[in-house]
Symmetry: C2
């Protein structure tokens, strides 16, 4: 897409400058650098580690506390059997092709996509068409690049071009062998070496390890936190006194052994997630008790139908309308989309860079009813940051089947129900002597028959005097039963409880991706000087709240600095004191890059009259007041109760000559 | 030790009753139960997960914010080379013995200890001695047990008894082969099967995995968070503008592949740690700038000398005295001991169940200068919860040596220093033609020579006109240099910076162990009814802050309940509402088990006059006031500004007849 990514001030986003700031200010770096950095593993320095802690505090407040969820934390090291049952052993894999000469391992879908897209691009060049949306200058630049790379623009037949376009649009539907066939048919090679590649093989993306030293307990690092929550379901529902619906939530690490990680923090090998599992009665219509409170909230929804018509502009629709029209499958899913949007607003995500994109049918798991991703726009394009899926009863069912342990809700019915059912019983006195120890197997086989089949058998028994059933574990698996040894009849019984496996709606947050997007959204540069960058984190999430600067390096100012430090401590406000010798403008500037929202200056007037200036990072405006008023204002902004505009209304503005001059000099 | 563990009210601690509460109230359980629970892996349910989150908020406030540390988070998956350099590949292992018949794997030191202790016990029995500190009843019980187990009490020779006692006291000093010899000499067998065991072999306790699919990137799950911090040292010190001292801190998971985990949460396979690495200039005397603020704080110190005299009672000494007398090695270590004690007090650890125990010489790593553990008393005995060690410059040095990457501080000297040094230089014009491409290797070999050796060589050169040096990489590793090709002279140069590897003082918190101890310290039972248990968590850390109970299940009370729920939400206070049909006394009782500190009752007087009662969990006393006053009191207690006693002083007491009656009935 040629739409250039812009900062919040509408400036062209300079990723190199942004990355330089992020590195300079220790937001993050690749892990284990001295031993040779490992791809896909990152360390967070103080600013980003603290931003993450603030994020989690707000997340817990917004979801766990406010929605009265049960928080839980589950083990990361997970026995093999758990992921065998969940399907991850079989399906959590990417297809890979090996370049046999270079040893390089390529993700098959990426390989096909990269090669076909390059051919289409080359075709356009050859046909002299202007690239979609690109400016003259862009086109020239690209042409030059192509020449430099010595790739000759090659025209394609119309039929071939259409075929490629169709393949790219439907690639997600292809199996490994399908992709293998494609590679042969279209002579797709490693674009770097030009070598042919080996056929695609699935490579599981879980990190394998083993528990203990016996070698008998293979295990994986979990690729999602969800399975631990599902396996704890009986604990959760009992804690909730069997009341439904309710949700569990877990903040924890997951792991994905990416074979060729790229895009910095966006695709990493270990990552923090926050996953909510909301359990509902499938017969409740998935209503949500608080849906009426959010009905009128409008969300940017990029529906399946807009996408299939090739559109990329979301419609702004109220969630009430969206659920009424079945665009969003149910109230619970709709309620969570709103809560997610409100959370993003609360932490300072740019509302213009957020949309909810519905999954296309072929993107969803076979069992999913509906799925919406909250996507944030970054310089890498739209990034999936929260997945919000309806997982139906799939997971609880497969674990229950694999282990024989019930994972369900037992609802006490308000009125007992009388139900009629076909019952098939062996006559124990006769069956015992005939089948001996196998009698219970025969009865078990009868118990497994469904109602329709039992009814059919009862007719056969009436007509022919005997029936035949399968009893798998016996020597002769077909067993004949005549009417004096088995009785099939319609019985009435009273039922006072109902057992059901709940459906699960799962909002799943990728925290690293959100934090990265938030950093890009917060970044801009001063209009008068692109070298002066600012990270506009909201005071509520900013890693450090206060910058304390004495006007000059002067011992007379230090007692006041220490007094303020003590008072900030008493209020539990984090601060940095910058007493270095450089100009005050430079000191403000370099701390704007850390996103410190409030600056308190100690100057010579402070010595005389006990007043201090408070500087706003974003506007660089200042107010001046007594210390306690300044600190009250800071605390109020940090708690999200006031903005600097509010503070400006009640505290007098200040145009300090020295600071202004200094700041101008630094610019 | 026969000292029975008591609750905070001096009651005998009933571990079975405590564990039943912990299970019933979902504090924690073994992970993956439906698939067969895995030993050493635990899930935390809502109460404990929330307690942990509160713990971390306070920890970050108490250490990271207050001490202005740099928080960072490092990857858990760690390449092989990192732990090769740190020594973990070689040394992070336990010696194990296999029982070849049963296949059981036993930790060698535990095996020896268990067997020798059993023999000593049996000896005491046989000699009819009363067991140390045990009551008559205890002794009888034990005798019975011995008989039931059909173990015949066996008397030992005095020499053997003394030998055993000596072995037990010094076992930590034994290597694997030493222990193997001991096992043969004293015929130590698997006490369960009576089988002889195989000789001890070291088994590494790190979980192994691999990065990517090539098999070329072996890795481990880290067993401590420290190494990632050390490897980030250059980032940290630059962020700190090269100022010293400073600290980094990291909260994260570590892993230990225990072969036979036991003792519940106290010895687990994955665990959350909080580790601080405080970097100091080794030439600074490890002074701490804030030490004077804590000088007079008294701590219970169990020194090495008390221990070696067989004592177990700590001395209560002011940290100032302790550092002055060198009992505690330095100010920085002392400062952290105080901060740890204050933190434990802040989260509600029982001060009478805390002590600092100094490591014996043989317990410490060879490089450590001093080490103190903060231990908490539990029903399992004294448990190491925080280790506070001086790691010297060990880790930074080994990584720097293994990688060639400097991990040091570059201090700009206030006054440049003039230093005299022996300099050894090849004459380049002559060396080039003679050694060709190897000339630089010869110069490098000269550069590596230390000052003393250079001085010696200069004398030889003067006397004999030539010297001989080793140049490892050359064909002939011994190289002769005569005086017209090499010059060795004393040169004076000016030095304006000093480079040094800092020493590291490391307080390391085992969070699961502290949380477990805190739960035991919080637990007690009502005097009038042992079935009514209470978890007395401080309001600041309690997982849920408010219990809201309508007096009866009556729709008329519900609008008030909902109004309070909204107001609690506005104040970001967590709550549970218990509207079940059981008596109010029962409802209070069962929520006391969760440790909810504040109970708000909605009754018929509330409907009339808008007043509500506030009940204190610990005393069951109540006050009554208007809603906003009640909520102000709750908020004030939750923030740690007031206790219930303070609230009682300003709000009127209430003796509600209904509640009192109900509560009495429930008892």
């Amino acid at each position: 897409m040629a739409t250039e990514y812009k900062t919040q001030k509408g400036q062209d986003f300079d990723r190199a400058a942004f990355e330089s700031l992020v590195k300079r200010k220790n937001f993050y770096w690749q892990s284990f650098e001295p031993h040779g950095a490992v791809k896909g593993l990152f360390d967070y320095g103080h600013p980003l580690a603290t931003l993450e802690a603030e994020f989690l505090t707000i997340w817990r407040d917004h979801f766990v506390r406010k929605e009265r969820m049960q928080e839980l934390k589950c083990a990361m090291i997970t026995p093999y059997n758990v992921f065998k049952a969940s399907g991850h052993v079989e399906k959590f894999a990417d297809f890979m092709c090996k370049d046999p000469k270079s040893g390089e391992i390529l993700r098959t879908d990426h390989l096909i996509k990269d090669v076909l897209e390059a051919r289409l691009k080359s075709d356009k060049e050859a046909r002299g068409e202007k690239l979609e949306d690109s400016s003259e200058a862009d086109a020239k630049k690209k042409k030059k690049k192509v020449k430099a790379g010595a790739v000759v623009a090659t025209k394609l037949d119309d039929a071939v071009r259409e075929k490629y376009e169709f393949l790219l649009a439907t690639l997600d539907d292809y199996t490994g062998p399908d992709m293998g066939a494609l590679i042969k048919e279209h002579d797709i090679r490693n674009p770097v070496t030009g070598n042919e590649v080996e056929p695609p093989v699935p490579v599981n993306l879980m990190f394998a390890t083993q528990i203990g030293a016996t070698g008998k307990e293979p295990a994986f690092l979990r690729p999602e936190t969800a399975q631990g929550q599902f396996l704890s379901f009986q604990h959760l529902v009992e804690y909730n006194d069997n009341k439904m619906p309710f949700a569990s939530a877990s903040v924890g690490y997951s792991f994905r052994n990416e074979l060729s990680p790229r895009s910095g923090l966006l695709r990493v090998r270990e990552f923090l997630m926050a996953e909510i599992e909301h359990y509902v009665d499938p017969e409740s219509g998935k209503k949500h008790p608080k849906f009426k409170q959010v009905r009128d909230v409008k969300l940017p929804l990029l529906s399946r139908s807009i996408q299939s018509e090739g559109g990329s502009q979301p419609a702004h629709v109220s969630i009430g309308e969206a659920v009424d029209s079945k665009l969003v499958d149910n109230e619970t899913l709709g309620y969570f989309l709103v809560r997610i949007a409100l959370f993003m607003e609360r932490i300072g995500v740019d509302a213009g860079k957020l949309r909810f994109r519905q999954h296309m049918q072929n993107e969803m798991a076979h069992y999913a009813a509906d799925c919406w991703d909250c996507e944030l726009l970054t310089s890498y394009g739209w990034i999936e940051c929260v997945g919000c899926a309806d997982r139906s009863a799939f997971d609880l069912t497969v674990h229950s089947e694999a282990t024989g342990v019930p994972l369900h809700v037992r609802e006490v019915l308000k009125e007992p129900l009388r139900i009629q059912e076909w019952d098939a019983q062996l006559d124990k006195k006769k069956a015992g002597p005939k089948f001996k120890k196998d009698a219970s197997k025969v009865q078990a086989a009868l118990d497994k028959l469904d109602q329709d089949f039992r009814e059919k058998l009862s007719l056969t028994l009436d007509k022919e005097g005997k029936i035949e059933i399968d009893v798998p574990d016996m020597e002769t698996p077909k067993i004949e039963l005549d009417k004096d040894i088995v009785k099939i009849s319609k019985e009435t019984r009273t039922v006072s409880t109902r057992e059901y496996v709940p459906n699960v709606i799962e909002p799943s947050f990728g925290i690293g991706r959100i934090l990265y997007s938030l950093m890009e959204h917060a970044y801009w540069t001063r209009e008068d000087d692109v070298a002066r960058s600012v990270m506009s984190f909201k005071p509520t999430v900013a890693p450090i709240k206060v910058l304390l600067v004495p006007l000059q390096k002067d011992v007379r100012l230090m007692p006041l600095v220490e007094e303020i430090e003590e008072k900030l401590d008493e209020r539990h406000l984090s601060y940095d004191t910058d007493t270095s010798g450089v100009s005050i403008g430079k000191r403000y500037s370099r701390n704007d890059e850390l996103g410190i929202p409030c600056g308190i200056t100690v100057d010579y007037e402070s010595l005389e009259d006990g007043t201090f200036t408070l500087r706003d990072r974003d506007s660089t405006k200042q107010v001046r007041a007594k210390l306690d008023d300044i600190l009250d204002a800071v605390e109020s902004m940090v708690k999200g109760k006031e903005t600097f505009s509010d503070v400006q209304k009640r505290l007098p503005a200040y145009e300090g000559k020295e600071e202004k001059e200094e700041e101008a000099k630094a610019a």
